[in-house]
Symmetry: C2
Subunit: 221 residues, 2 copies
C-alpha cells in the first residue's frame, strides 16, 4: 500500500507499523540497560517472528552485527530517524470534547515528539479557556492559526457530522497529515495522508471473535 516512488524502495504499511512496535520495545530495553538485542528477543516481545524483524529492518539498512544482534540505543536512534521521531512535530487538535480532552492530557505524545500546540473548538464556552496550558482557539481562525503555528499534523476530534467540512478547511490550509477519530471516511486529496482511529472496529472485531466462539463454529486462532 505504501510505496516510495522515485526512490528505490517499496515499504509496506505493515512494516512501518511494526517499526513503531520495535521502537517501543527498544525504548524499554534501553531502560532495562540492554546493550544489544537479537531479532529473536525483539520478535518475542511483540509476538512476531525473528525473520520478520530482520526483513523489516533490512529494507532500511544493516543495523546489526552477525553473531551479536542489534545495538539497542543505536537501533532505536536509527528507527527514530526512519519514522521521523528525532524531532518535534507541531500538532493541532480540533474539537476538545470527550476524546479531545483525553488527548490533550496525554503527556506521552509530547515525549514522542508530538506537541499539541493549538486547540480549536466552536463552543463559545470553551473558546479562550485553558486546557493543560493551551488556550482554546476559535475554529473561525482555523486557516490563519494553522499557518501561523506551522502546524504539520491535525487531529480531528469533532462530531462526524461536521468532520468533512472541517477537514476541507484543514486541507485548504495546506495540511498534509490528518489523524481522524470521527467514524466516517473522510475525503482528502491524494497528497494528504489520512489515518483513522476506529475504536468501534476493534470492538466489533472482538464481537465477531466471541460470536464465533459461542456459536461453536470452532476456535479462532
Amino acid at each position: 500500500m505504501v510505496a516510495v516512488a522515485g526512490g528505490r524502495k517499496k515499504i509496506s504499511e505493515s512494516t512501518i507499523r511494526r517499526l513503531s512496535l520495535y521502537y517501543r520495545v527498544l525504548s524499554v530495553l534501553e531502560k532495562e540497560n540492554y546493550q544489544t538485542v537479537s531479532s529473536r528477543e525483539l520478535a518475542k516481545r511483540e509476538k512476531l517472528t525473528p525473520a520478520q524483524v530482520r526483513k523489516d529492518l533490512s529494507f532500511f539498512g544493516s543495523f546489526g552485527t552477525r553473531g551479536l544482534g542489534y545495538p539497542v540505543s543505536e537501533l532505536k536512534k536509527q528507527i527514530g530517524e526512519i519514522l521521523g521521531l528525532n524531532r518535534v512535530w507541531n500538532v493541532a487538535l480540533i474539537g476538545v470534547g470527550n476524546i479531545g480532552s483525553a488527548l490533550v492530557g496525554y503527556k506521552e505524545f509530547l515525549r514522542q515528539g508530538f506537541r499539541i500546540k493549538v486547540i480549536f473548538d466552536n463552543d463559545q464556552r470553551k473558546i479562550g479557556s485553558n486546557h493543560k496550558g493551551i488556550k482554546v482557539s476559535d475554529i473561525q481562525n482555523l486557516e490563519q492559526d494553522l499557518r501561523e503555528n506551522n502546524i504539520e499534523i491535525v487531529v480531528i476530534a469533532v462530531p462526524a457530522t461536521v468532520a468533512q467540512y472541517i477537514v476541507d478547511d484543514v486541507v485548504k490550509a495546506g495540511i498534509k497529515a490528518i489523524l481522524n477519530f470521527a467514524p466516517l471516511n473522510l475525503k482528502v486529496p491524494p497528497d494528504v495522508f489520512l489515518r483513522n482511529e476506529n475504536m468501534s472496529m476493534e470492538l466489533e472485531y472482538l464481537s465477531f471473535a466471541l460470536k464465533n466462539l459461542q456459536d461453536g463454529k470452532g476456535t479462532i486462532k
Copy 2:
C-alpha cells in the same frame, strides 16, 4: 491470521475489519433511504474496490441480486449478524482517567451494542463516584464483579505499568476478549482475544509519511 478451525472458512482479519466499514456505510445509506446499493457504490464510499466488496461478502453467502445490487437494510442486518452486533455485549472498563472517561461518555458504543456496565479504578477518590450513571467499583472486587455482571469484554485504560497485572486477573476471571489502550504488548493465553488501540502508531505513521515527503524521497501513495 484469523481462521475458523473446525469450520469451513478462512476469514482474514482484513475482511472482518472491512465488514465493520460496510456496516457503517450501510447504516448511513439506510438513513439516506437507499433501497439497494451496488458493490461499486459501497466500495466508493470506503475507498475500496468493487471486487473486494463482493469477495468479502461472498465468504459469508450470497446477499445480492445480479443486475440490482444489495438490499441495504437486509445486508446491514446480515453483516450485523456476522459481526455479532444484533445483541448487547456487557463491557467493563478498567481505569477511569483521561481516556477511560472519554469512553464512558461516548454514547455511540451503546448504540452499537456495547454497554459499559461496570467501571473499575483503584483511586479511592474515584471509587463510589458516579460516571454517567455508573458507579465506579473498587478494582479489589474485580473478579467477583466481572462474574456477577456477566462481563464479556474488558477495556483496559490504566497506565502501562500496571496493565499486565490487571490483565492477568481479568483472564483469571474467565474473560475472553480484551481491548487494550495501554502502549505495551500484553501477554494473554491463546484462547483470549486481544486487540490493541495504538494511537502512537498512527501518529508515527503520519510522521514517517511526512518525513519521506520532506526528504524529497518521492511521493508516498
